[in-house]
């Protein structure tokens, strides 16, 4: 298994996709520090965390997934792997593991860069471990949130164009949903606010804000009853992840090589 993981990285040698992906994590921290004048370590981190994760990481994860999963079909190497034999299930797991590692690395990079910026700007660093924990957790949750879309990409097999359309659609709907009170303000249960990954992640993240000013405090109070606790949020998203992985297994099992 570790060798399988190592092999996945060797396959991307000379292709800068990982490097560019990680470099993209610098965009928002630098951008935000130039445009916004935050003087609070927590709000710097949360800004970076959300913008990076929901607008960049999510689509990048899916595009990366398309690359990871299609690399074998494009190069006709799947048969070589199956003859070793590498069970298709293992292959799926390893590729998802690569995505998870990428997701976490991406978030940690964002965190590190914003922390450096905070130090330069002389902003006091408060609760770094907690912020770090939130950032890494968001990485894991975003990975889980991207899985349903990855299932679709695999299902529509080999069509990059279609995949990209799906990516944009998925990213945008998810992101838009978290602005909608109708979706967000529902009790935990079988509803879009619980089952759609991005709204769920926001319901979990919001509770860690320290509201400043009246408007924010009012919102915080009104929303507080819909907060999702850490265990529930992780449970729902990881459960969804397991379902997605199961579907991927089925897709690979039924495919003739």
């Amino acid at each position: 298994m570790p060798n399988l993981l190592y092999a996945e990285f060797i396959k991307f040698k000379r292709r800068k996709i990982f490097l560019f992906g990680i470099l993209a994590a610098l965009i928002f921290p630098v951008f935000n520090s130039a445009l916004l004048s935050e003087f609070n370590f927590a709000s710097i981190q949360s800004g970076v965390r959300e913008d990076n994760a929901f607008l960049l990481l999510m689509p990048m994860l899916i595009i990366l997934a398309a690359n990871l999963f299609f690399v074998e079909q494009d190069n006709n190497t799947l048969k070589n792997l199956l003859c070793i034999p590498i069970p298709p299930k293992k292959l799926v797991i390893v590729k998802l593991l690569v995505l998870l590692l990428f997701s976490i690395t991406f978030q940690i990079t964002g965190f590190a860069v914003s922390t450096v910026i905070a130090v330069i700007k002389n902003i006091p660093i408060v609760d770094p471990f907690f912020q770090f924990f939130l950032t890494v957790s968001t990485g894991i949750l975003i990975w889980a949130a991207a899985l349903p879309c990855i299932v679709l990409v695999i299902w529509f097999n080999k069509s990059y164009l279609l995949s990209i359309i799906i990516v944009f659609f998925y990213t945008l709907t998810n992101y838009v949903m978290h602005f909608s009170d109708a979706i967000m303000m529902q009790p935990i249960g079988l509803n879009a606010g619980t089952l759609m990954p991005v709204p769920m992640i926001f319901r979990w993240l919001y509770q860690f804000y320290k509201p400043a000013g009246d408007i924010q405090t009012a919102f915080y109070k009104r929303f507080s009853q819909y907060f999702a606790s850490t265990p529930i949020c992780f449970f729902v998203l990881l459960l969804e992840a397991f379902i997605c992985i199961y579907i991927m297994f089925r897709i690979y099992d039924n495919r003739e090589n």
Partner: protein
């Protein structure tokens, strides 16, 4: 030593109505080269894919190394080296890097396995050239290197000489023979070229429209198909003298105690017969075999022949 390495029982693969492989009973013996001969689309690749568990049979059984392949993939597949259809490698890596991936995943039998596999196929080790810059022949060589890198007991090679130049073909042929003769590997090889199979294989299976028409050893086939006249006579010594003195030919073999095999097909059988009898010999059989291998394949494949 005639242990069966591959045995299939009524192996079939249907795609809807089309029977790609139909009730195939294949017998590949230990330490021999088995040539699967058939035209393109006859079902060779499909059969090989099923043997490698890349494709699920509609019905039938496959046993390799005496064990059923299903449920034993993990045990059986590492002992096989294979080359199926076009070579598949990562274009952004060099040949050595490509092989390194598989060496990591499957394991190898010695430390310098990659280097020696590349040496066998005549590709440089640790070369900077990327796979995407390889010529067709080099790609095929790399695929062969991948198949032999872990020193497997059984090789399944689908049209291994595809894309190679004549020198490459001769090299590959020599080293496949060597693998079989020196290392006693079992090799299943497919081709649509009769002469290629005739040069390499010990046993031949002829497949057409998914059906195995014939399965025989090459020497049996050649015996059946070379042009010669077989005489069974009472005194082969006199027959030999007569052939040499009266017919001025030395192109014959004395086989066993009474039979003599004449490879000179310019001579008339009836004249020979008469001369033998005039010299007091009893001729109990005079049998002409005139098929060439090609004619034979044409016949078994129903007249269409094999290029």
């Amino acid at each position: 030593m005639n242990e069966l390495i591959i045995e299939t029982k009524n192996l079939s693969k249907h795609y809807g109505e089309q029977k790609s492989v139909d009730n195939l009973n294949l017998h590949v013996k230990q330490g021999r080269i088995y040539g699967l001969l058939g035209r393109n689309g006859a079902g060779k690749t499909t059969t090989m894919k099923m043997l490698l568990n890349l494709s699920n049979p509609t019905s039938g059984e496959i046993s390799i190394f005496g064990e059923n392949i299903y449920g034993n993939e993990g045990k059986i597949l590492p002992r096989i080296g294979s080359l199926i259809e076009a070579p598949g490698f990562y274009p952004n890596l060099t040949g050595t890097e490509n092989l390194k991936i598989y060496a990591l995943l499957r394991g190898v039998s010695k430390r310098n396995a990659i280097e020696s596999a590349l040496e066998v196929v005549g590709l440089p080790y640790n070369d900077r050239k990327l796979f995407s810059q390889y010529s067709l022949g080099m790609k095929q060589r790399l695929a062969i290197a991948l198949a032999i890198m872990h020193d497997p007991e059984l090789l399944i090679l689908d049209e291994p000489i595809n894309g190679l130049d004549p020198i490459g073909i001769a090299e590959v042929r020599t080293f496949i023979r060597e693998l079989c003769e020196v290392k006693k590997k079992t090799i299943l090889i497919s081709s649509h070229i009769l002469s290629e199979i005739a040069l390499l294989a010990d046993d031949i299976g002829i497949i057409d429209h998914g059906i195995l028409l014939e399965e025989q050893s090459l020497s049996e086939l050649e015996d059946k198909n070379s042009k010669y006249i077989n005489f069974v006579v009472s005194d082969p010594a006199q027959a030999a003298r007569i052939l040499e003195k009266n017919f001025k030919t030395v192109n014959f073999i004395v086989e066993g105690n009474h039979s003599i095999r004449l490879y000179d097909d310019n001579l008339s059988v009836s004249l020979l017969n008469r001369t033998f009898i005039e010299n007091g010999l009893e001729v109990s059989e005079a049998h002409t075999c005139e098929d060439t291998l090609e004619d034979y394949f044409k016949r078994v494949t129903g007249g269409e022949g094999i290029a």
